[in-house]
Amino acid sequence: MSVIVEDLTKIYGEQSAVDHISFSIKPGQITGFLGPNGAGKSTTMKMLTGYIMPSSGSATVHGIDVVKDSLSAKKLIGYLPENNPLYTEMYIKEYLRFIAGVTSYSGNVSQRINQLIELTGLGVEQHKKIGMLSKGYRQRVGIAQALFHDPKVLILDEPTSGLDPNQLVDIRALIADLGKEKTVILSTHIMQEVQALCQYLIIINKGKIVASDNTQVLLSQQNQSTAYQVQFKQKTEQKILLAINGLSTAESNNGTDWIITAAKGVELRDRLFEWAVSQNNPIYMLNPQQKNLESVFQLLTKTN
């Protein structure tokens, strides 16, 4: 296991920002940390990277405790904080040279800088001051900074927030690439991103883990009750529809377009067809609604 977290807790005053969470992450995998704002994603990441100390519990990275031996742990971790703080008055290369210094990089610094500029696609902008860069390029500088000392574990806190669609694609491709050799943990609240990038998923809400599994498993688990989007030729009423055996809910705004859900294990489409024939009300459209991560997320993190 690359990262092992046990009973990790952070209490601010009376409130638990992170409440006894435990998980472990396999090496060479991209893990998504998913949750609504204020769920404790950033706090967990800050504890892993040694920026804040846990109130109780422990976390180890490749067997090294992040509290007891924080300097050694920091050598194994590359971290991109939320909002990507940078020294805007520095030049890109100057900044990376500074990072080489604070990480005590032992190899050839100039060579490493050129390598990272190439890898993160900073080539055309490499002679600029950081303050003059667009958000997408700043994000690349942030990632280059996190990667500098070739860490085994990469922790990225909302690496794609505030990027335009083109930049988004580029940065995602870069992260996917990095995930081939490194353990990557990233937090986000963009569902497509998780589906596109992450092999493993940890969903966190109010400081607690509400689900953690392989992305595919999580998706399929939630697909047991099926919903359909139906359009009829003529208007119909809810109570007439609910009379269909095996139909559990039906909702509509205009009487012709309906979202209906079937009870567990019922093949509703046959019954719906028979009903339509009997009512002489042809079906114009019938669309099974795959539950995507978005609804899984909403289901798991809904506050009652």
Binding site: Y51, Y79, P85, L86, E89, G101, T103
Partner: protein, 242 residues
């Protein structure tokens, strides 16, 4: 530590803070020593740089907090402190890197003062008739005083994420340690602790060194107060993690 040190130096000279603070110090000192009617040496008629050593602590009281105000306040405001704290370096290295970078600016401001010494020495009658002991003592004292101010200023910069607040706090703390404590000893309310107040007041030690006598007690005082405030700064940074 060297990376932080180098970064701070670059910052001083790319953001004009370095040039402006050194420049202002040199201009003000030049005015006081040679030009302003009530202070200048020419009118005074004595071949001594007492004015310089009397005025410099007050000028530093403004300039040094101006140099140090952004050191941690800005890192916190922009969030870059999070980058620093998650790299494999210790808080002590960060604090010392910033401290020594500030010291470089102090050296740049004080080195040209040697010119004044040699000018006064040449102007004296007979030539060379100056109190060398007093000069070198005061000159040393000025470095030590600036070193204390820097520690106080950096400490104040960790208290807030607002540079202006850090500047004002730094100025007040420097003033307190330089002469306010000294003034308090004259109040009857503080009569019982006046000995203690004098002992922790910078001015009494600065004046002692200015006489040209290097007493180990004064040196110990300066180094302990610097260590105290740099340690406090470090502890404050560490305590933020909890």
């Amino acid at each position: 530590m060297i990376a932080i040190f180098r970064k701070e130096i670059n910052l001083f000279f790319s953001s004009l803070i370095g040039y402006v603070s050194v420049g202002v110090f040199l201009v003000l000192m030049g005015l006081f020593v040679w030009v302003l009617p009530n202070f200048n040496i020419i009118d005074g008629g004595y071949a001594s740089l007492d004015t310089l050593f009397e005025v410099a602590p007050f000028v530093f009281m403004f300039l040094i907090p101006a140099i140090t105000m952004r050191s941690f306040a800005d890192e916190r405001k922009t969030g870059t402190i999070e980058i620093l704290s998650t790299k494999p370096i210790t808080e002590t290295q960060i604090v010392l890197g910033k401290y020594f970078a500030g010291m470089v600016l102090v050296v740049f401001s004080l080195l040209p003062m040697l010119l004044y010494y040699f000018s006064v020495k040449a102007l004296a009658s007979p030539v060379g008739n100056v109190d060398a002991g007093a000069f070198w003592g005061s000159y040393m004292g000025l470095y030590l005083l600036a070193a204390v101010y820097l520690a106080l200023g950096i400490f104040c910069s960790t208290l807030t994420d607002n540079q202006i607040v850090a500047f004002i706090l730094g100025m007040v703390l420097c003033a307190t340690f330089y002469f306010i404590l000294d003034q308090l000893t004259e109040l009857s309310a503080f009569a019982s602790i006046s000995g203690l107040l004098t002992a922790i007041n910078i001015r009494s030690h600065y004046l002692a060194i200015s006489r040209g006598v290097l007493d180990s007690r004064d040196l110990i005082y300066f180094f302990s107060i610097i260590t105290l405030f740099l340690t406090l700064t470090k502890q404050l940074l560490v305590s933020r993690k909890w």
